[in-house]
């Protein structure tokens, strides 16, 4: 038996109205169920509205058409049940790593000592021990993203929204961070929605991959990507390569459409 749906997206449309120029339909009639404790990847070409969908679920953008339910209730703005990690890390640049990680904890009614202990535990978990008093500007990209992940995990959200979190990292760091995220997810079993345009990343991390169409974004299909990933060389196995091919075929048409749309 699978866990029941924790996040329900029903018939959501979203338009961007730029200050100048015509309005852009970013999402058209998107429906999606995300099960409790599952790792779902939202995959699509750039500009397909996958981040917009994530921001809507996060409660950062107003829902104009359709509805989004979390735990059966319509969402009302952002909340600490849904933690978010951005591609640009979004660490508070004026706070040290420790203060950044403490921020979410300070919004909760925890004794000071417990906040400090929890913050340290998550700094240790992501391997930033010794960098507690560093400012984000003093860290490398990979370390910044570790700090951002620690900050989000520390206040213990039940859902993790990740917006191309490894998109700004070099290939080696990215691959390392992917394994670490998978290990953390297996330990904590939070519901994760992971936005990416990288097919390999989606297949490696997710249990299900929701493939989105080019703008206006729709859910084209959902592919089951559950198989044994414990092998450190899993990326070279037949199963993995076949899954990547299967999804890449679905994405390719959309990527071409997205490219054509950019041309005037």
């Amino acid at each position: 038996m699978r866990d029941p749906a924790q996040i329900i997206v029903q018939g959501v449309c979203h338009c961007y109205r730029p200050a100048v120029g015509r309005e852009v339909l970013a999402l058209e009639n998107v429906s999606l169920d995300v099960r409790e404790r599952e790792f779902l990847a939202l995959l699509g070409p750039s500009g397909c509205g996958k981040s917009t969908l994530l921001y809507l679920i996060g409660g950062f953008l107003p829902i104009e058409t359709g509805k989004i339910l979390v735990d059966g209730r319509p969402i009302a703005g952002p909340g600490p049940d849904r933690g978010i990690v951005f591609q640009n890390f979004a660490l508070f640049p004026w706070k040290t790593v420790r203060k950044n990680v403490l921020y979410g904890l300070e919004r909760q009614a925890l004794p000071r000592q417990e906040r400090e202990t929890r913050a340290q535990a998550f700094i240790d978990l992501v391997g930033l021990t010794g960098f507690e008093e560093s400012y984000p500007s003093q860290l490398s990209g990979g370390m910044k993203q570790r700090a951002a992940i620690a900050r989000t995990l520390a206040f213990d959200p039940r859902m993790l929204l990740m917006d191309e979190p490894f998109g700004a990292l070099d290939a080696q760091t990215r691959s390392l961070m992917q394994s670490e995220l998978l290990a953390i997810w297996e330990k904590t079993r939070k519901t994760v929605i992971f936005v990416t345009h990288d097919v390999h990343e989606a297949v490696y991390l997710a249990e299900r991959v929701a493939v989105m169409s080019a703008r206006p974004g729709r859910i084209k299909t959902i592919v089951d990507t559950r198989f044994d990933k414990s092998d450190s060389e899993v990326r070279r196995t037949r199963t993995f390569v076949d899954k990547v091919d299967e999804i890449w075929n679905l994405v390719r048409d959309e990527a071409i459409k997205a490219l054509e749309k950019r041309q005037p």
Binding site: Y55, F60, P80, R82, A90, F92, S137
Partner: protein, 257 residues
């Protein structure tokens, strides 16, 4: 002679930095002593130094100086508090911005010294009119800095704070105010320089105390050495204030690199 507490490299860089000043001082002294210029127009620097000593001893410089610093400090403090709050408020509230934005733009380029007679009319010859003048004159650079800085807040930072449970007010204080800080502090630096200009010019015109009054009074009495001494004192205090301010800013913004 070498001071063991000051490394050689540092000492020579200090010498290099202030060498132009020393050359200027020597040229001043020489020009006056050699009668290249009239010693009435430019009294020798050594005479100015002597006059400065007398002004300090008589207490005139200190009394007038404290009075000036009080006016500048009070006006500037008000300008920073009110101007900063106003700028951030304009950045978060569209109606406020629609109301005040055009007014800020209209008054920003106005020469603030034009307000000297106005503030005297309202508050008379004492401290009040100077403080009001400095407050009005220095507020807008701070407002504009705070507004631009706060408006440029990264929306991902705002969203992060909100998703971690920060309410709107909390988010404004925790994200928008620190985001505004670099530009706000730049505005304060402009305001600091403006405050000295407004202070001295208003005291020159209407005052019974202060640096500007002292400069005007000594000049009118033909005590040019003493007048130059006060002018140099004001220049030095302005320089010092800017230096102290900049090192304070570097400390506050140390997270930036």
């Amino acid at each position: 002679m070498s001071n063991p507490l000051v490394p050689k490299a540092l000492a020579s860089s200090i010498v290099a930095r202030y060498a132009p000043l020393l050359i200027l001082a020597l040229a001043w002294e020489a020009a006056s002593r050699l009668h290249l210029v009239s010693s009435l127009a430019l009294p020798p620097l050594t005479d100015v130094a002597l006059a400065w000593g007398e002004l300090v001893q008589s207490g005139e410089l200190v009394t007038n100086g404290l009075s000036s610093l009080y006016r500048a400090g009070a006006g500037l403090a008000l300008a920073i508090i009110v101007g900063g709050a106003l700028g951030i408020f304009m950045a978060i509230s569209r109606p406020t911005n629609a109301m005040l934005g055009p007014l800020v733009e209209l008054f920003y380029p106005m020469p603030k010294s034009a307000l000297i007679p106005v503030t005297v009319l309202w508050l008379g010859f004492g401290d009040g009119s100077k403080i009001l003048l400095i407050f009005l004159g220095c507020m807008l650079p701070v407002t504009i800095g705070a507004y631009n800085g706060a408006r440029g807040s990264d929306r991902h930072l705002i969203w992060s704070a909100r998703s971690m449970g920060a309410h709107r007010l909390r988010m404004i204080w925790d994200v928008m105010v620190p985001s505004a800080l670099p530009e706000l502090l730049n505005g304060v630096r402009t305001a600091l320089a403006l405050s000295f200009i407004l202070l001295v010019s208003s005291e020159l015109i209407v005052a019974r105390q202060g640096f500007g009054y002292l400069i005007g009074y000594l000049g009118a009495n033909g005590s040019y050495e003493a007048m130059f001494a006060v002018v140099l004192t004001v220049a030095f205090i302005g320089f010092l204030a800017d230096r102290i301010y900049q090192s304070m800013v570097a400390r506050v913004l140390r997270w930036r690199e």
